[in-house]
């Protein structure tokens, strides 16, 4: 039932995001995992395309990083001796993902969701999918998904509490992307925004509205500071554009004057 749901979501995401993501697969020097599974059929082949469209693939995280095993040796690829852990069961998933996403795991186990894990409660894959994982966004909190187990009301409250901050951080992120493309040094700000966003998304996993509301002020403040920094840079860029327009205008003016002078000679030729 869950696998079906996951597959549906995964397939939808794949359909929308399959464009231009091929190179990461190539760069992973084509692990034997990908080579073999890509040639299989049905559900054994599905993870390859799904993973390819994921945020993990974009960051160079591939099969052995989660499942273990040896990506260079066909014979030993799925051998426990080389660390292969196979497919985690429903209850094993939070530990599985939590090997890297430690902060989220802590908050999750602290929450109502975490406590319900062994009685059919949700875990990471329930909302994020398993192979076609995308960057976390507020869209993951929606009526359709959350009301699978309980009424949407509380989820809606948390989403509302997080909306403003999410917008602020997303706005900062996209502005920084824009600035990076013009050669402005944004590495420090990007790092801080990334950390801030992670802390912020981690916060949701406590599914505690009061906690979210308390911490929102701190996020807003730090986010606001970054935004001020960005605005200063953008102001500088606008000044540059103005000066540029002035210089270009002068040059075109000089060109026109020269043509006019030329005309005075023309009349005499």
């Amino acid at each position: 039932m869950m696998t079906l749901m996951v597959r549906n979501i995964g397939a939808l995401i794949v359909v929308f995001l399959l464009a231009g993501s091929g190179f990461s697969a190539a760069l992973a020097a084509e692990s034997v995992c990908l080579q073999c599974h890509a040639g299989l059929e049905g559900r054994l082949a599905a993870p390859v395309a799904a993973w390819d469209s994921s945020i993990h693939a974009q960051n160079g995280i591939s099969c052995p990083d989660c499942h273990g095993g040896d990506p260079t040796d066909f014979a030993m690829a799925m051998d426990p001796e080389r660390g292969f852990v196979g497919v985690p069961g429903h209850g094993e998933i939070p530990e599985f993902c939590g090997r890297c996403h430690v902060g989220v795991k802590e908050d999750y186990f602290d929450s109502g969701h975490g406590r319900a894990l062994h009685s059919g409660g949700p875990q990471c894959v329930t909302c994020h999918g398993n192979h076609a994982v995308q960057t976390a966004s507020l869209a993951l909190i929606n009526r359709e998904d959350c009301s699978r187990c309980h009424e949407y009301g509380r989820a809606e409250e948390i989403k509302a509490a997080m909306l403003d901050t999410d917008r602020l951080l997303a706005g900062i992120q996209s502005d920084l992307d824009g600035l990076a493309k013009t050669g402005i040094r944004v590495r420090e700000m990007e790092g801080e925004t990334f950390a801030l966003r992670n802390d912020f998304h981690r916060l949701f996993h406590t599914v505690d509205v009061e906690r979210v509301r308390e911490q929102t002020a701190a996020f807003q403040q730090r986010g606001g500071e970054i935004r001020t920094e960005i605005e200063a840079v953008q102001e500088e860029l606008t000044t540059r554009k103005l000066l540029g327009a002035g210089a270009a205008g002068l040059l075109f003016l000089v060109s026109v004057i020269c043509f006019l002078i030329r005309k005075t000679y023309r009349d005499e030729e």
Partner: protein, 364 residues
């Protein structure tokens, strides 16, 4: 005051005569059109590249570990560093555009024909030197774009039979683009190619002045110049002095192109500079959709079309050879486009083909 200075120089260098011969008494045809100014535009743009290049050289470090950071310093910490960098990077693209326009106008007016073959051939080599300057300069920022575009470009040399692999290693200084590549590309870009360019521009201008400026092959009064088998400097008695009449026209068009450059630098610097140019090079990660610059897309796509790499390279080589040797192949004396239907047809088809293949290369 000016007269005293001129007298001082004239007694020692005969400068009045030189000024007259090249400025006030240098007569040109009355109907010289605006395309004739493109040479002066190119001189100005190359000078700008030279000056901005030297300025960048003050802060740039040609070492893979420091190159990217030094460019970042220039862009962010050095006052107006961003301006110098963008003038240089955007300027190189504008130069290629003007070079193409200059070449196209010469082709159209048949000015490459006898006795101006040397002017054409030196111009053709200059075009290739300019492209080589673009290619070598591209690597210097050591960004993802630099690294991988250079990898793609040098890989093409592997298609040459027998010596292909050796050639690629020679170009790169090793199996892959790396420290050695940066070293040799830097030497080429900063010293060897500019020196060659300067020398050849000198020769090119010498040829232009020595044989005399060609008259435009348009208008009812046009009569083809008789080409004898001995040296004749083409005179234009009753013509118009270069200075100030045509000099001011040169200045007008130069200002226009500088204005265009400034507009691009301030309002669309990213037009020629994709985002991958702002990520430091990572030899282990090839970004998706790496492509060479727009002026190399024709070559890139041609290599992709032909199933055999060698054929792809050979076909390009044939076209380049055809173009280089054009004045020796097209010996007809006629320069008026209306009376060269075969040439004009090939010319137009050539432009369309170039544009089509480049656009295809962009989207493929």
């Amino acid at each position: 005051m000016r007269k005293r200075l001129l007298d001082f120089l004239d007694v020692r260098l005969g400068i009045r005569d030189i000024l007259e011969q090249n400025l006030t008494k240098y007569l040109l045809p009355r109907n010289v059109n605006i395309w004739y100014t493109l040479g002066a535009v190119l001189l100005t743009l190359f000078s700008l590249q030279f000056v901005t290049g030297i300025l960048l050289l003050v802060y740039y470090v040609p070492n893979p570990d420091e190159a990217f950071k030094s460019i970042e310093t220039i862009m962010n910490d050095v006052p107006y560093g961003w301006l110098i960098r963008y003038l240089h990077a955007v300027g190189s693209n504008v130069i290629v555009i003007v070079l193409l326009l200059h070449m196209l106008s010469v082709l159209f007016m048949g000015s490459y024909k006898k006795p101006r073959e040397f002017t054409w051939v030196s111009g053709f080599i200059l075009f290739n030197l300019a492209l080589a300057l673009c290619l070598t300069g591209y690597l210097l920022p050591w960004s993802q774009l630099s690294f991988w575009a250079t990898t793609v470009a040098t890989e093409a040399a592997g298609a040459v039979p027998v010596i292909g692999d050796g050639l690629v290693r020679f170009l790169r200084g090793g199996a892959m683009v790396g420290n050695a590549t940066l070293g040799r590309f830097f030497a080429l870009h900063v010293m060897v190619l500019p020196a060659g360019l300067a020398a050849l521009i000198g020769f090119h201008l010498f040829c232009v002045r020595r044989i005399g400026i060609s008259k435009p092959p348009f208008g009812e009064e046009y009569v083809p110049t008789e080409v004898k088998d001995k040296f004749v400097h083409e005179e234009h008695p009753g013509g118009i002095p270069f200075f100030p009449n045509y000099a001011i026209k040169d200045l007008a068009v130069i200002s226009f192109f500088l204005g265009l450059l400034v507009v691009l630098v301030f309002f669309a610097p990213g037009l020629f500079i994709p985002p991958a140019a702002f990520e430091p090079a990572d030899p282990f990660t090839t970004p998706a959709h790496i492509k060479p610059e727009w002026y190399f897309l024709w070559a890139y796509q041609t290599l992709k079309i032909f199933p055999s790499e060698f054929l792809g390279l050979a076909s390009q080589g044939a076209v380049m050879a055809l173009l280089a040797l054009l004045p020796f192949l097209d010996r007809g004396r006629e320069r008026r486009p209306a009376r060269r239907p075969l040439f004009v047809t090939c010319y137009l088809l050539g432009i369309l083909l170039f544009a089509a293949i480049s656009i295809w290369g962009h989207y493929s």
